[in-house]
Each structure stands twice: as C-alpha cells, then as structure tokens.
Symmetry: C2
C-alpha cells in the first residue's frame, strides 16, 4: 500500500517507544552523572559538519561510511557525523586550544553511518564518551578505564569485563627487539590479527609467536608476556598494564589480548574493549591516541573511550518495570496534585469523564487528597 | 590557510563549549522532568527518515527546507529531520496506534534546516515538546499551555508571557456569521495577517475589522471579541479561551491576538506562542491540530507544543557560575574521593606532579580526608 509504505522507516533506523526511550535516557543520565562527578565537562557538537573536518583529525574516521551531501550555502560537501570523537578532538584543538591541560570532556549523541556494521544492521547509534586531552600516561589510562567501568555500572550494566591490548606492539618490537624487514611487518601484523600461528611462522614472524599465547585472564597472560620480555622493550608497557589492572581489578574481570588491533587502528600504546553480561559484542572501546593540532602546532596526546550503549538500552528496556502513576480525577485540587508530584509521583490528569485510570496505566488514584491504590 | 579552513564549521552550525552545553543539558533535564511528572512519556526518533514520511503527516513541514540525500540502501530520498512533531505524529499513528488515548508523549533533540530562519542564522536547533494525542478539547489545551509554562519555568525562564490565537477564525466566521465570497477569503486572511485595516476594508472584509482591535492583554481583548460575538459563532471558542487563561493567569502574562496565523498554518481552533523575559523572539508555540492516520483510518485530534530553547540556553550560559570542584592530589585515598563524590562534589584527580588545582578550575583540595578551600 502506497500510504503505509510512507510510514516505514529506512532499514537500520528506528524509533524508541516509551519503555526503550526511558531506558536510553536513564543510561545517558546515569553515565553522564558519573563523568561529571569526575570533572568531565560536557560538550555538544553539531549533527553535520564539513566532510573534510570530520575526516581530517583521526585516521579512524572513514569518509565513505558517512552520509554526505552538498551544502547549498557553502557549496561544499557536508557529512552527518559518524563519530563524535573526531568532533571533540576538533574542539580541543580549536575552541578549547587555550584551556588548561589535562582537559576533561564528555559527550553523547546519535551518530549515523550509511551502512550497518557487520551483523548489526543499525545505521544510527548512541555514542557516549569521555576524553582526557593532553596526556596518555598510565595514570590517564587507568582513570579512563575506571571511568568507563563506573559509567557502565551506573547505567545498569552488570558483569563487566575489560580486554586490554597493546595496539602498537609490532611497531615497538620490530624496531630492535624482534627486528623484521620492513616488507614483512604488514604480513606479521596480518597473521597476528588473524591469530594464525602457522601463517605467522610462514611469513618469518616466529619470534612473535609468544604474543599469540599471552592471551586470557590478565593475571596469567601478563606473566606470559613478561617472560617473553625481549630485553626490556616491553618493560614500561607491562608495568603500565599491571598498574591499570590493579586499579580496576575489583570492579571488572580483566583479560589481555596484546596483539588485538581490530578497532584500534588509531590508538597508540594502550587500548581496551569493554563488555557486559547478557550483551553479545562489545559495548565500546578506548585507549591512548594523538590529536592533530592546528596548523603549526604539534599533535597532542589524549586518552579516552567511546561507548555504544544501544544493546544495554535494549537489555534494560526488556526488564519489566513497575508503573507507579497517580490518576487525578476531574475537578481535583491542582495544589494537591502539585504536592504529589513534588514528592515523586507521576500524575495523569483526567481530561474527560471517559478517561479510565487503569487503561491509562495508573496504579493509584487521588482521593480525599491522598494516593489510593486502584 | 588550508588547514585552518578545515576547522571552520559551516554557517549556522556550532559547538557548545562546557558552559553552554551544561546550560543546554540543564534546560533539557529540568523541562523533561516536568513533562515526565505529568505523565508524558518520552519517545526518541531517528535523525533521518524517508523524505515522504516526514513531509506526509502535517502541512507544516516544508520539504524544501530539509537536507535531503539518496539512501544507498533503498535508493529512495532521505531527509534529516527538521521537525520532530511529524515524527511523533507518525509514532502515534503507527507504533502506538493501539495505545489508549489520550496518549501523552514528550521528545527532544536536534533538528536541522538547510537555511536559517529569517534573522536567525542557526541551521540546527534544539526542539523539545509534548503532544497530547486523541483530544483537542479545552481541557487538553489548558493542560498543554500550563505544561509549556511549567517546563520553561523549571528550565530557568522568567517573566513568561503567552499569546493566544484562534487560527481557524476566518474559516469559522466566513461560513455564516460574516459570510465572504469564496474568492475573497484568501485576501481577507492576508490583510488580517498584515494587520492592514485599510486593506481589509478594500477587499470587502470590513466586518472583520473588530478582530484587528481585539488585541492585547487578555482580560480586555477577550471582552472586545466577546462584544463582537457574531450571533454565537465564537461563543464556544471565547469560553474556551477564558477557561485556559483562568488556568494559567497566575503563572504567566496572557495576551490575545485572535487573527494571528503566522506559524499556525496547521493548527485548528487554538494556538499559542510563548515568550520569556530577556529573550527576543518566541521560545516556541503550540495548539490544537489533527494527525493523519494510517490509510483507512480517520485523522486524530491532538494538542501539543514545541519549544526551541536555544536562546534560553544562551541566556543561562551567560550567567556567571560558581565552580565548586575538589582537587584530589596524587596518592589520595580513592575511597575518600568516592565518598566526596557521593555527597555531591565534582572531583578532579591529579595525574602528575605538574597538575595545578587552580589552573584546573578547582575551588577546594582534598587534605587529611576533607575538602579544604584553596
């Protein structure tokens, strides 16, 4: 039918009805309250920008995954944001270039891509994150990992686990400790990414084999990588990982997968992925990275995380919720109704004789100035 | 410079830095808390939809003002939302078609247009609103006007005034009370819109002249329009306006401009515009209207309002804000820090010896387990 067809939403785009929207708002509010309490100040970014500005700051943003269109005012290409991290990096390098460092910023909002991601058909997602700009130290990384865990816990996630990785591991080792001919670096990376031990040997990367086995629960995996140590090349990284793990091991299960690079293409020494019980796939990731400065300025170190909480929202929205709503009959005293709202009631005022408190989802009714259960 | 150029934002699009973003979040949170306490359930809508779906529900949405682009998945035209009201109307007619009426929904989010509006260059605005679906009665209109006022007051607006109008006045009167030849209706409307008394007489609308003078403070203007009465054609509307005004006259200054139609093209019997002290232009408008149902279903009555609070956000962000932030020195006890956050402190943890509490905007420092003023 022509007319019904108009009501369909495009593939991968959807509404949130009240129960889902309430869960989504609760997730955002609770997570942002945690970030704010740790001194992370909120910024808001536009839905659209010049395509080049969005693409320019970080290698992780793929222009061809963005909705793009010509601006009738500037006649330049605009893009719908697909990642707010690049926008926050822009703010740090421009509007807040003079703000003291470390600069703590937080953000959240909807981001869009022209196609879904692998098995997930969603083309619009909620992104929520925090950026600590001006430092990529171990202390910064520990704060960011702890904050990501606390924000997700406050938002309602349980059974959180965090997988640590060392994104620039091959770059670090191939310089001296485990030298590789330039031409083979890419092949070794590829075999490590594929966790292909045979392939790794075939391309001459047998020296890197221990990395494939230093995987699993943090306490044991870190010992395996420490044994593999390579003349001190990894000493500071190993010490850093231990410090971060010590800070959060009472809040989440920590695992290590030192050669995992998928999704960490623009991260520097440290990266992490965060998971929660009952949710397939990750809820987000973070790590240390570098922000391109203005022309003539040096790049700046930064540490941050981005969460994509939609699966958590879906999980929370599916939990049955007790409705506590107070029906206000026709002719009720508006002052009494206001007092009931002030002590936390949600009120639903009758507008006509036919308004039915039960049909409208009310659990109570205002009677003689008091809330009486229906 | 090429590189700096990339950092510029397109005309009419901007970031909100921390002070502005904080004001924006506060406005949204406070307003939504009021809406929620009155039983308005939040819905969330996608940033993009099929162009036709956005344009179809209400005459007020202008397709040519939307950013439009081809969807590579469906090969159909998509548009970036320019008005969330049309989306909420879609939800009411589809996903919530079976929900009991009256249905109370609220929403907020960013909306975009390809060009600014008159003197305002903004191409992206915050829209926040409530819709009461299934009724356009006087009781519904009174609830919606009161709610708009309460939401704005909670958000920080002061000196609120509300201007009432009767959008379908000429349609109502021209049928019988003040008959007009079909061909002249448009001209009479135009002269009333232009507040052009001479022109009104010229086009044969002298009978409508009293409408031009029934303007101003509600108490006196309603008496002028009541005197003009026209054999009862306006009796129910006048009684309705009096009832709505009585409900809110202690909360806002009420004025009447019965022939004002600008911005009310898709409203039915009642419309209002809302203003606040210190803000030029209106903060939003609302009224009664009709939603197109699914094919084969009747249109549905509805009442609602949309606020565009950006000017209020700017006003609130300009007010000086006391910073109360607690600096946590290196080696602080994380449990004590957590306790301080639990009682309301915003904390800023030192990450290195060089972190300076004053430069980081802190007012206090954790010392011996207590917050000490700096």
């Amino acid at each position: 039918m022509q007319d019904n067809d108009r009501d369909l939403l495009p593939e991968g785009l959807g509404d949130r009805l009240p129960q889902q929207a309430s869960a989504s708002q609760q997730v955002r509010r609770m997570a942002h309250d945690v970030l704010a309490s740790h001194g992370y100040e909120r910024v808001e970014t536009p839905l659209i920008e010049f395509e080049k500005a969005l693409a320019h700051r970080m290698a992780g943003v793929q222009v061809r995954r963005m909705f793009r269109f010509v601006d009738s005012v500037s006649l330049r290409m605009l893009a719908l944001r697909s990642d707010m991290t690049a926008q926050v990096a822009r703010i740090a390098a421009t509007g807040l270039a003079e703000a003291p460092r470390p600069l703590r910023l937080s953000y959240s909002g909807q981001v869009c891509t022209i196609k879904g991601d692998g098995l997930d058909p969603r083309r619009e997602r909620l992104q929520l994150g925090a950026e600590l700009i001006g430092t990529d130290s171990v202390a910064a990384a520990a704060e960011i990992v702890e904050l990501a865990i606390e924000a997700l816990r406050a938002a309602g996630a349980t059974g959180i686990s965090v997988d640590f990785t060392l994104p620039d591991l091959v770059d670090t080792l191939s310089v001296e400790a485990l030298p590789l001919p330039e031409a083979r670096i890419a092949a070794v990376r590829q075999m490590l990414d594929a966790k292909d031990a045979g392939g790794l040997v075939d391309v001459g990367g047998e020296g890197y084999l221990p990395l494939l086995y230093a995987v699993g629960p943090f306490a044991s995996a870190i010992e395996r990588i420490a044994a593999f140590e390579c003349g001190g090349a990894l000493a500071s990284r190993i010490a850093g990982l231990r410090e971060i793990a010590a800070r959060v091991s009472d809040k989440a299960r920590i695992t290590l997968d030192p050669s995992e690079r998928h999704g960490f293409e623009y991260q520097s020494w440290f990266g992490f992925t965060i998971y929660a019980e009952g949710i397939s796939g990750s809820l987000g990731r973070g790590g240390t990275y570098r922000i391109l400065g203005q022309t003539g300025h040096h790049p700046e170190s930064a540490t941050g995380f981005s969460l994509y909480p939609d699966p958590l929202v879906d999980l929370l929205a599916a939990e049955p919720q007790a409705q506590r709503k107070l029906f206000l009959p026709l002719g009720h005293d508006p002052r009494v109704a206001g007092q009931q709202r002030a002590i936390g009631w949600t009120t639903v005022a009758a507008l006509s004789e036919s308004d039915d408190p039960l049909a409208l989802g009310c659990s109570h009714k205002l009677e003689g100035g008091e809330a009486v259960a229906l």
